[in-house]
Amino acid sequence: MELGLTMPGTTFGASVDRDADQELVRRAKAGDYSAFEQLFVRHRQLVYRFAYQMAPRQDDAEDIVQEVFVRAYQNLSRYRDEAKFTTWLLRIATNLATDKARMTQRRSNLEQKEAKGALEWMTVGNTEDANDNLEGEYQVQALRKALAALPVHHRSVIVLRDLEGREYSEIAEMLGCSIGGAKLRVLRARRALKERMIPLMEGFVN
Protein backbone atom coordinates (compact mmCIF):
# COMPACT_ATOMS: atom_id res chain seq x y z
CA MET A 1 0.00 0.00 0.00
CA GLU A 2 1.52 3.23 -1.12
CA LEU A 3 0.57 6.18 0.97
CA GLY A 4 3.02 8.67 -0.40
CA LEU A 5 4.10 9.85 3.00
CA THR A 6 6.76 12.42 3.55
CA MET A 7 8.31 13.84 6.64
CA PRO A 8 6.34 16.68 8.14
CA GLY A 9 7.46 20.21 7.95
CA THR A 10 8.53 20.29 4.32
CA THR A 11 5.63 22.53 3.38
CA PHE A 12 6.02 25.32 5.86
CA GLY A 13 9.35 24.60 7.35
CA ALA A 14 11.74 27.48 7.07
CA SER A 15 15.40 27.06 7.72
CA VAL A 16 16.51 29.75 10.05
CA ASP A 17 20.04 30.58 10.78
CA ARG A 18 20.16 30.21 14.52
CA ASP A 19 23.44 31.99 14.94
CA ALA A 20 22.14 34.98 13.05
CA ASP A 21 19.11 35.02 15.30
CA GLN A 22 21.26 34.95 18.39
CA GLU A 23 23.35 37.83 17.11
CA LEU A 24 20.25 39.88 16.35
CA VAL A 25 18.83 39.09 19.76
CA ARG A 26 22.07 40.17 21.41
CA ARG A 27 21.98 43.48 19.56
CA ALA A 28 18.31 43.98 20.35
CA LYS A 29 18.97 43.35 24.02
CA ALA A 30 21.65 46.01 23.86
CA GLY A 31 19.04 48.50 22.67
CA ASP A 32 19.34 48.22 18.90
CA TYR A 33 15.74 48.39 17.75
CA SER A 34 16.68 47.83 14.11
CA ALA A 35 17.97 44.39 15.10
CA PHE A 36 14.58 43.60 16.61
CA GLU A 37 12.90 44.77 13.44
CA GLN A 38 15.07 42.38 11.49
CA LEU A 39 13.96 39.57 13.77
CA PHE A 40 10.38 40.58 13.13
CA VAL A 41 10.83 40.58 9.38
CA ARG A 42 12.48 37.19 9.47
CA HIS A 43 9.88 35.44 11.59
CA ARG A 44 6.58 37.25 11.17
CA GLN A 45 5.42 34.83 8.48
CA LEU A 46 6.12 31.84 10.71
CA VAL A 47 4.10 33.35 13.51
CA TYR A 48 1.37 34.42 11.13
CA ARG A 49 0.94 30.92 9.69
CA PHE A 50 0.63 29.47 13.13
CA ALA A 51 -1.77 32.19 14.26
CA TYR A 52 -3.88 31.75 11.14
CA GLN A 53 -4.40 28.06 11.85
CA MET A 54 -5.23 28.76 15.46
CA ALA A 55 -7.56 31.68 14.80
CA PRO A 56 -8.57 31.41 11.19
CA ARG A 57 -9.60 34.98 10.69
CA GLN A 58 -7.06 37.21 9.09
CA ASP A 59 -7.55 40.14 11.43
CA ASP A 60 -7.34 37.91 14.48
CA ALA A 61 -4.19 36.27 13.16
CA GLU A 62 -2.54 39.61 12.47
CA ASP A 63 -3.52 40.84 15.87
CA ILE A 64 -1.86 37.81 17.40
CA VAL A 65 1.29 38.45 15.34
CA GLN A 66 1.58 41.99 16.62
CA GLU A 67 0.93 40.98 20.18
CA VAL A 68 3.50 38.21 20.00
CA PHE A 69 6.23 40.60 18.92
CA VAL A 70 5.21 43.26 21.40
CA ARG A 71 5.52 40.74 24.20
CA ALA A 72 8.76 39.44 22.78
CA TYR A 73 10.17 42.96 22.81
CA GLN A 74 8.97 43.61 26.33
CA ASN A 75 10.41 40.37 27.64
CA LEU A 76 13.51 40.13 25.54
CA SER A 77 15.70 40.28 28.61
CA ARG A 78 14.16 37.03 29.82
CA TYR A 79 15.03 35.14 26.69
CA ARG A 80 17.88 32.71 27.22
CA ASP A 81 20.00 31.25 24.50
CA GLU A 82 19.17 27.65 25.41
CA ALA A 83 16.14 27.61 23.13
CA LYS A 84 15.85 28.74 19.56
CA PHE A 85 14.37 32.16 19.12
CA THR A 86 11.62 30.73 16.93
CA THR A 87 10.74 28.22 19.63
CA TRP A 88 10.43 31.04 22.12
CA LEU A 89 8.28 33.05 19.70
CA LEU A 90 5.98 30.12 19.02
CA ARG A 91 5.65 29.51 22.72
CA ILE A 92 4.40 33.07 23.18
CA ALA A 93 2.14 32.62 20.18
CA THR A 94 0.73 29.39 21.56
CA ASN A 95 -0.17 31.03 24.84
CA LEU A 96 -1.73 34.04 23.17
CA ALA A 97 -3.65 31.99 20.63
CA THR A 98 -4.91 29.70 23.36
CA ASP A 99 -6.15 32.64 25.39
CA LYS A 100 -7.76 34.24 22.37
CA ALA A 101 -9.42 31.01 21.28
CA ARG A 102 -10.91 30.54 24.71
CA MET A 103 -12.18 34.08 24.84
CA THR A 104 -13.65 33.72 21.37
CA GLN A 105 -15.32 30.46 22.28
CA ARG A 106 -16.77 31.95 25.44
CA ARG A 107 -18.07 34.99 23.58
CA SER A 108 -19.50 32.81 20.85
CA ASN A 109 -21.31 30.64 23.37
CA LEU A 110 -22.78 33.68 25.06
CA GLU A 111 -23.93 35.18 21.78
CA GLN A 112 -25.46 31.91 20.68
CA LYS A 113 -27.19 31.56 23.99
CA GLU A 114 -28.63 35.04 23.81
CA ALA A 115 -29.75 34.63 20.20
CA LYS A 116 -30.81 31.02 20.73
CA GLY A 117 -28.72 29.83 17.81
CA ALA A 118 -29.98 32.36 15.31
CA LEU A 119 -26.56 33.94 14.92
CA GLU A 120 -24.63 30.78 14.25
CA TRP A 121 -24.01 31.65 10.63
CA MET A 122 -22.46 35.03 11.39
CA THR A 123 -20.47 34.58 14.59
CA VAL A 124 -16.77 34.01 14.87
CA GLY A 125 -17.40 30.36 15.59
CA ASN A 126 -17.99 29.86 11.90
CA THR A 127 -14.56 29.52 10.30
CA GLU A 128 -15.68 29.32 6.72
CA ASP A 129 -14.79 32.24 4.53
CA ALA A 130 -15.23 33.01 0.86
CA ASN A 131 -12.06 31.16 -0.09
CA ASP A 132 -13.46 27.90 1.27
CA ASN A 133 -16.33 27.97 -1.16
CA LEU A 134 -13.97 28.56 -4.02
CA GLU A 135 -11.60 25.79 -3.04
CA GLY A 136 -14.12 23.10 -3.64
CA GLU A 137 -12.06 20.49 -1.91
CA TYR A 138 -14.21 18.77 0.56
CA GLN A 139 -11.38 17.20 2.46
CA VAL A 140 -9.70 20.46 3.10
CA GLN A 141 -12.94 22.02 4.18
CA ALA A 142 -13.64 19.11 6.44
CA LEU A 143 -10.20 19.38 7.90
CA ARG A 144 -10.60 23.07 8.57
CA LYS A 145 -13.94 22.53 10.21
CA ALA A 146 -12.59 19.70 12.27
CA LEU A 147 -9.57 21.75 13.27
CA ALA A 148 -11.74 24.66 14.28
CA ALA A 149 -13.91 22.34 16.35
CA LEU A 150 -10.94 20.85 18.17
CA PRO A 151 -10.17 21.96 21.69
CA VAL A 152 -7.47 24.55 21.61
CA HIS A 153 -4.86 22.42 23.33
CA HIS A 154 -5.30 19.73 20.69
CA ARG A 155 -5.32 22.27 17.90
CA SER A 156 -2.09 23.90 18.97
CA VAL A 157 -0.09 20.67 18.94
CA ILE A 158 -1.56 19.63 15.58
CA VAL A 159 -0.57 22.96 14.09
CA LEU A 160 2.89 22.86 15.61
CA ARG A 161 3.69 19.31 14.65
CA ASP A 162 1.72 18.52 11.50
CA LEU A 163 1.35 21.93 9.90
CA GLU A 164 4.51 23.68 11.02
CA GLY A 165 6.66 20.55 11.21
CA ARG A 166 8.21 21.34 14.56
CA GLU A 167 10.32 18.70 16.25
CA TYR A 168 8.98 16.99 19.34
CA SER A 169 11.80 18.45 21.40
CA GLU A 170 10.73 21.95 20.36
CA ILE A 171 7.09 21.23 21.12
CA ALA A 172 8.08 19.85 24.50
CA GLU A 173 10.02 23.02 25.19
CA MET A 174 7.09 25.20 24.15
CA LEU A 175 4.58 23.28 26.22
CA GLY A 176 6.89 22.80 29.18
CA CYS A 177 6.71 19.02 29.17
CA SER A 178 8.90 16.05 28.29
CA ILE A 179 9.41 14.80 24.78
CA GLY A 180 7.37 11.71 25.59
CA GLY A 181 4.63 13.96 26.90
CA ALA A 182 4.69 15.98 23.71
CA LYS A 183 4.40 12.83 21.61
CA LEU A 184 1.47 11.68 23.68
CA ARG A 185 -0.29 15.01 23.27
CA VAL A 186 0.20 14.96 19.52
CA LEU A 187 -1.12 11.42 19.36
CA ARG A 188 -4.24 12.29 21.31
CA ALA A 189 -4.81 15.37 19.20
CA ARG A 190 -4.58 13.37 15.99
CA ARG A 191 -7.10 10.87 17.30
CA ALA A 192 -9.44 13.67 18.30
CA LEU A 193 -9.06 15.29 14.90
CA LYS A 194 -9.84 12.04 13.14
CA GLU A 195 -12.92 11.53 15.25
CA ARG A 196 -14.19 14.91 14.14
CA MET A 197 -13.29 14.42 10.52
CA ILE A 198 -14.98 11.05 10.08
CA PRO A 199 -18.58 12.36 10.18
CA LEU A 200 -17.67 15.14 7.79
CA MET A 201 -16.02 12.74 5.38
CA GLU A 202 -18.94 10.31 5.59
CA GLY A 203 -21.24 13.11 4.61
CA PHE A 204 -19.07 13.73 1.58
CA VAL A 205 -19.03 10.03 0.56
CA ASN A 206 -22.78 9.67 0.96
Partner: protein, 254 residues
Amino acid sequence: MKEKDVDQLIAAAFGELSAQETARLESGLDAEGQATMVAFAKMRAAMGQLPDPGPCQVSPEMLRDRILNAGVQTRSPWALWLPRVGLGGLAAVLGFVVMNSLTKPNESPVNTTTPVQVATSKPAPKPIVVDTTPELEPAPLSTGAILGPDRPIGEADVRDEPRRVVRKVRRAETPVVKEQSKAVAEAKLDGVGSDTARGAAFGGSAPTAPMIAAEAAPLMSEPTVVIVDAEEGEVGAPVAIEVSAATEDVGIKG
Protein backbone atom coordinates in the same frame (compact mmCIF):
# COMPACT_ATOMS: atom_id res chain seq x y z
CA MET B 1 -7.51 -3.39 17.24
CA LYS B 2 -5.34 -2.57 20.18
CA GLU B 3 -4.64 1.01 21.19
CA LYS B 4 -0.93 0.48 20.76
CA ASP B 5 -1.45 -0.73 17.23
CA VAL B 6 -3.48 2.37 16.45
CA ASP B 7 -0.67 4.50 17.81
CA GLN B 8 1.74 2.73 15.47
CA LEU B 9 -0.62 3.28 12.57
CA ILE B 10 -0.89 6.97 13.30
CA ALA B 11 2.87 7.28 13.52
CA ALA B 12 3.26 5.45 10.24
CA ALA B 13 0.59 7.55 8.55
CA PHE B 14 2.36 10.72 9.59
CA GLY B 15 5.74 9.42 8.45
CA GLU B 16 7.28 9.08 11.87
CA LEU B 17 8.35 5.47 11.40
CA SER B 18 11.21 4.23 9.30
CA ALA B 19 10.52 2.61 5.94
CA GLN B 20 11.22 -0.88 7.28
CA GLU B 21 8.92 -0.42 10.24
CA THR B 22 6.18 0.99 8.02
CA ALA B 23 6.47 -1.90 5.58
CA ARG B 24 6.38 -4.47 8.38
CA LEU B 25 3.33 -2.78 9.91
CA GLU B 26 1.47 -2.58 6.60
CA SER B 27 2.10 -6.25 5.85
CA GLY B 28 0.41 -7.33 9.06
CA LEU B 29 -2.69 -5.13 8.80
CA ASP B 30 -6.19 -6.49 8.57
CA ALA B 31 -9.02 -4.67 6.81
CA GLU B 32 -9.89 -2.55 9.79
CA GLY B 33 -6.30 -1.56 10.29
CA GLN B 34 -5.90 -0.65 6.66
CA ALA B 35 -9.04 1.52 6.78
CA THR B 36 -7.72 3.31 9.84
CA MET B 37 -4.38 3.93 8.27
CA VAL B 38 -5.97 5.24 5.09
CA ALA B 39 -8.15 7.59 7.10
CA PHE B 40 -5.15 9.06 8.86
CA ALA B 41 -3.22 9.27 5.62
CA LYS B 42 -6.05 11.26 4.04
CA MET B 43 -6.08 13.56 7.02
CA ARG B 44 -2.39 14.11 6.64
CA ALA B 45 -2.76 14.75 2.93
CA ALA B 46 -5.49 17.29 3.61
CA MET B 47 -3.17 19.06 5.98
CA GLY B 48 -0.66 19.42 3.16
CA GLN B 49 -3.37 21.00 1.02
CA LEU B 50 -4.40 23.62 3.45
CA PRO B 51 -4.14 26.96 1.74
CA ASP B 52 -1.34 29.23 2.65
CA PRO B 53 -2.72 32.20 4.54
CA GLY B 54 -0.80 34.57 2.33
CA PRO B 55 1.79 37.09 3.33
CA CYS B 56 1.50 38.71 6.71
CA GLN B 57 0.25 42.25 6.35
CA VAL B 58 1.79 43.49 9.56
CA SER B 59 4.55 45.92 8.72
CA PRO B 60 7.47 46.96 10.91
CA GLU B 61 5.91 50.41 11.19
CA MET B 62 2.69 48.95 12.54
CA LEU B 63 4.66 46.94 15.06
CA ARG B 64 6.61 50.02 16.12
CA ASP B 65 3.39 51.94 16.70
CA ARG B 66 1.97 49.04 18.64
CA ILE B 67 5.03 48.85 20.84
CA LEU B 68 4.95 52.58 21.48
CA ASN B 69 1.23 52.45 22.26
CA ALA B 70 1.74 49.54 24.57
CA GLY B 71 3.90 51.80 26.69
CA VAL B 72 6.90 49.59 26.95
CA GLN B 73 8.41 50.08 30.33
CA THR B 74 11.30 48.48 32.02
CA ARG B 75 10.41 46.97 35.33
CA SER B 76 11.50 48.94 38.31
CA PRO B 77 13.45 47.21 41.06
CA TRP B 78 10.41 47.68 43.29
CA ALA B 79 8.33 45.58 40.98
CA LEU B 80 10.93 42.84 41.16
CA TRP B 81 11.51 42.50 44.87
CA LEU B 82 8.23 43.71 46.33
CA PRO B 83 6.36 40.49 45.56
CA ARG B 84 9.18 38.52 47.13
CA VAL B 85 8.99 40.59 50.28
CA GLY B 86 5.25 40.10 50.34
CA LEU B 87 5.65 36.36 50.01
CA GLY B 88 8.27 36.34 52.75
CA GLY B 89 5.98 38.25 55.05
CA LEU B 90 3.12 35.92 54.35
CA ALA B 91 5.33 32.93 55.06
CA ALA B 92 6.46 34.51 58.34
CA VAL B 93 2.88 35.15 59.44
CA LEU B 94 1.88 31.61 58.55
CA GLY B 95 4.87 30.26 60.42
CA PHE B 96 3.98 32.32 63.48
CA VAL B 97 0.41 31.09 63.42
CA VAL B 98 1.51 27.48 63.05
CA MET B 99 4.07 27.78 65.84
CA ASN B 100 1.54 29.44 68.07
CA SER B 101 -0.98 26.70 67.52
CA LEU B 102 1.66 24.06 68.27
CA THR B 103 2.94 25.61 71.46
CA LYS B 104 -0.49 26.51 72.83
CA PRO B 105 -2.86 23.68 72.14
CA ASN B 106 -6.50 24.33 72.65
CA GLU B 107 -7.71 23.76 76.13
CA SER B 108 -10.67 21.58 76.83
CA PRO B 109 -13.79 23.17 75.46
CA VAL B 110 -16.16 24.92 77.78
CA ASN B 111 -18.75 22.57 79.12
CA THR B 112 -21.87 24.64 79.31
CA THR B 113 -23.79 21.99 81.22
CA THR B 114 -21.52 22.23 84.22
CA PRO B 115 -21.89 25.48 86.14
CA VAL B 116 -18.75 27.42 86.47
CA GLN B 117 -17.79 28.09 90.05
CA VAL B 118 -17.25 31.76 90.25
CA ALA B 119 -16.34 31.74 93.89
CA THR B 120 -16.06 29.21 96.61
CA SER B 121 -17.24 29.40 100.15
CA LYS B 122 -13.84 28.89 101.60
CA PRO B 123 -12.41 32.03 103.09
CA ALA B 124 -9.52 33.88 101.65
CA PRO B 125 -6.21 32.53 102.85
CA LYS B 126 -5.34 35.66 104.71
CA PRO B 127 -7.14 38.96 105.11
CA ILE B 128 -5.47 41.89 103.53
CA VAL B 129 -4.37 44.37 106.09
CA VAL B 130 -4.50 47.90 104.88
CA ASP B 131 -2.54 50.34 106.86
CA THR B 132 -2.36 53.72 105.20
CA THR B 133 -1.55 55.70 108.31
CA PRO B 134 1.26 53.94 110.08
CA GLU B 135 2.33 56.93 112.14
CA LEU B 136 -1.10 57.83 113.37
CA GLU B 137 -3.34 56.37 115.94
CA PRO B 138 -5.92 53.98 114.59
CA ALA B 139 -8.77 55.79 113.02
CA PRO B 140 -12.08 55.38 114.67
CA LEU B 141 -13.63 54.19 111.45
CA SER B 142 -11.89 51.07 110.27
CA THR B 143 -12.29 49.23 107.04
CA GLY B 144 -13.82 46.40 108.95
CA ALA B 145 -16.62 48.70 109.98
CA ILE B 146 -17.31 49.60 106.41
CA LEU B 147 -17.51 46.02 105.24
CA GLY B 148 -19.32 44.76 108.23
CA PRO B 149 -18.09 43.12 111.38
CA ASP B 150 -18.58 39.53 110.31
CA ARG B 151 -17.00 39.78 106.89
CA PRO B 152 -13.27 39.57 106.69
CA ILE B 153 -11.60 41.54 103.98
CA GLY B 154 -11.07 39.51 100.90
CA GLU B 155 -13.90 37.10 101.31
CA ALA B 156 -15.61 36.40 98.04
CA ASP B 157 -19.27 36.85 97.37
CA VAL B 158 -21.35 34.15 95.81
CA ARG B 159 -23.94 34.69 93.16
CA ASP B 160 -27.00 34.29 95.32
CA GLU B 161 -26.03 36.96 97.79
CA PRO B 162 -27.88 40.26 97.62
CA ARG B 163 -26.33 43.25 96.03
CA ARG B 164 -23.99 45.21 98.12
CA VAL B 165 -23.68 48.91 98.11
CA VAL B 166 -20.16 49.91 97.56
CA ARG B 167 -18.98 52.68 99.67
CA LYS B 168 -16.33 55.05 98.83
CA VAL B 169 -14.14 56.44 101.51
CA ARG B 170 -12.78 59.84 100.94
CA ARG B 171 -10.26 61.30 103.22
CA ALA B 172 -10.34 65.01 102.95
CA GLU B 173 -7.36 67.17 103.72
CA THR B 174 -7.63 69.45 106.63
CA PRO B 175 -7.19 73.20 106.02
CA VAL B 176 -3.87 73.08 107.81
CA VAL B 177 -2.49 70.46 105.46
CA LYS B 178 -3.72 72.37 102.46
CA GLU B 179 -1.96 75.49 103.57
CA GLN B 180 1.26 73.62 104.20
CA SER B 181 1.15 71.97 100.79
CA LYS B 182 0.42 75.24 99.09
CA ALA B 183 3.32 76.94 100.83
CA VAL B 184 5.72 74.16 99.85
CA ALA B 185 4.54 74.32 96.24
CA GLU B 186 5.06 78.06 96.11
CA ALA B 187 8.51 77.62 97.61
CA LYS B 188 9.32 75.24 94.76
CA LEU B 189 7.92 77.54 92.13
CA ASP B 190 9.84 80.61 93.17
CA GLY B 191 13.06 78.76 92.47
CA VAL B 192 14.57 79.40 95.83
CA GLY B 193 13.32 76.50 97.81
CA SER B 194 14.96 77.84 100.92
CA ASP B 195 14.58 76.33 104.29
CA THR B 196 13.15 79.60 105.46
CA ALA B 197 10.26 79.41 103.11
CA ARG B 198 9.61 75.85 104.00
CA GLY B 199 9.99 76.67 107.61
CA ALA B 200 7.41 79.39 107.30
CA ALA B 201 5.06 76.86 105.90
CA PHE B 202 5.52 74.73 108.97
CA GLY B 203 4.99 77.42 111.50
CA GLY B 204 8.39 79.13 111.64
CA SER B 205 10.63 76.26 112.49
CA ALA B 206 12.67 74.80 109.72
CA PRO B 207 12.24 71.03 109.54
CA THR B 208 15.34 68.93 109.40
CA ALA B 209 14.06 67.12 106.34
CA PRO B 210 11.88 69.59 104.56
CA MET B 211 10.75 67.49 101.62
CA ILE B 212 9.95 64.48 103.74
CA ALA B 213 8.07 66.66 106.11
CA ALA B 214 6.05 68.13 103.27
CA GLU B 215 5.11 64.71 101.92
CA ALA B 216 4.32 63.40 105.32
CA ALA B 217 2.29 66.41 106.21
CA PRO B 218 -1.10 64.75 105.74
CA LEU B 219 -0.01 62.06 108.13
CA MET B 220 0.73 64.55 110.82
CA SER B 221 -2.87 65.49 111.18
CA GLU B 222 -5.77 63.31 111.73
CA PRO B 223 -7.55 62.65 108.47
CA THR B 224 -11.19 63.23 108.05
CA VAL B 225 -12.86 60.24 106.57
CA VAL B 226 -16.00 60.78 104.58
CA ILE B 227 -18.15 57.87 103.62
CA VAL B 228 -19.91 58.37 100.37
CA ASP B 229 -22.32 56.01 98.75
CA ALA B 230 -20.97 54.98 95.44
CA GLU B 231 -22.61 53.18 92.62
CA GLU B 232 -23.31 49.55 92.81
CA GLY B 233 -20.71 47.19 91.65
CA GLU B 234 -21.37 44.33 89.29
CA VAL B 235 -24.00 41.96 90.52
CA GLY B 236 -22.66 38.67 91.61
CA ALA B 237 -19.10 39.52 90.88
CA PRO B 238 -16.57 38.24 93.31
CA VAL B 239 -15.60 40.80 95.86
CA ALA B 240 -12.40 42.49 95.13
CA ILE B 241 -10.96 44.91 97.57
CA GLU B 242 -8.89 47.71 96.27
CA VAL B 243 -7.38 50.24 98.51
CA SER B 244 -5.92 53.31 96.97
CA ALA B 245 -2.98 54.67 98.83
CA ALA B 246 -3.28 58.05 97.28
CA THR B 247 -3.15 61.01 99.51
CA GLU B 248 -6.63 62.20 98.63
CA ASP B 249 -8.91 59.20 98.22
CA VAL B 250 -9.10 55.80 99.69
CA GLY B 251 -11.66 53.78 97.83
CA ILE B 252 -13.11 50.47 98.75
CA LYS B 253 -15.34 49.06 96.15
CA GLY B 254 -16.75 45.75 95.19
